[in-house]
Amino acid sequence: MTVTIENQTLPELTTDELSRYSRHLILPEVGMEGQQKLKAARVLCVGTGGLGSPLALYLTAAGIGTLGLVDFDVVDASNLQRQIIHSTRDIGRKKLDSAEEKLIALNPAIHIVKHETMLSSANALDILKDYDIVADGTDNFPTRYLVNDACVLLGKPNAYGSIFRFEGQASVFATKEGPCYRCLYPEPPPPGLVPSCAEGGVLGILPGLVGVIQATEVIKLILGKGESLVGRLLLVDALNMRFRELKLRKNPECPVCGANPTITKLIDYQQFCGIVPESKEEKAMKNGIPQMTVKELKRRKDAGEDLFILDVREPFEYQIAQIGGKLIPLNDVPQRLNEIPREREIIVQCKSGGRSQRVAELLKQQGYPSVVNLAGGILAWSDEIDPAVPKY
């Protein structure tokens, strides 16, 4: 697979560039022509976070001519453990501005295009069409499927990477001859079944490893050299430092890249991934569990009520921050029901409200008459009630 850099005369390298890229120029696989191809190339980085940081930095250093960045987020202190393109003084700043500053400092010749938006079905084709290759560093299933489908529809290769805790995946999708993300995973998991990085955590170095693999694939596709990850899924296990690879096949019945595609334009990816916008009723009641706001909890605490708060996070999370709940980690709850009084109202709490909702539903099934979920968890408490409670 080679990405055809549009049939144009390749741009000449300046004297500065000849010296900057000398270690590339003496590599037979890159050489003058390869470096000129890199200079002509336009790459879109979706996300400037964990994967996007090393991706953007290395692509910029390598001499990519045009680098598009898509992000709408601002830098948060909890990003800095892995998102190395941002620094401490950037906290609160737009990620795009922070990233652009670092990239231009690294290589002033780079042309950065900032797309300050959330990629959506309405704008994805328009944004992606101007690039040769897409590098997907997003953090949620709807955007993964959106990027995949847009790449297939436009015929743009997608250097894919994904991470969770100590484990990563990488491949190249949506080339003409190779499989796409939907060939690998026809359907997304239902919401809540796969924990997010915020719930599950991630080793800060892991996106560095995986993002650099993505960047390597981007460069190889542009140069048309080596063996790309098309048709292979690379699995990275950082904890045991094992790299394994699995064969990927193009699914002839794939709804987007198969012989008779049923998806011929972008769809509603939130709906496809089972995510429905929360109605007013759902805000107050979810799956039969009343949702308590942190303001309501504060009001009742201040009124001197003796409340039973059940904190279902892990002990190490409790050490970081707690709001006076009794700690029984999620997985221990079924064995420790005798410590949870049936005659009292149980206010279940976790970090952001997901795990506590599951425990609340479990307690209700177990016959507890009065169970409520603390919506937004300890994060909402820190945001809205007491900023002294650390966020993590």
Binding site: G49, D139, N140, F164, L184, P189, P195, R244
Partner: protein, 94 residues
Amino acid sequence: MTIFIPTPLRPYAGGNGTLEVSAKTVGAALAELTTAHPDLRKHLFNSEGTLRSFVNVYLNDDDIRYLPAKEATEVSAADTLSIVPSIAGGTGCN
């Protein structure tokens, strides 16, 4: 044979990254696994007992969906089975 358990599913497999089973087929290996660790069952299979579409199972480096005998494929002690679920993390991880 060795079954590789991915990180997201390890809490339901006693925290193990790999497990050994002595089954004769892929299906029997998965059955042995979920009998030993019943919590894994709902993460791997839907209510009809078929593998969930977002969980891929590989015998060595081959997707079992593309093996002629699929789950009835015979296995030996030297084979490995990998469970590869979809993960989405990457950017902000919010």
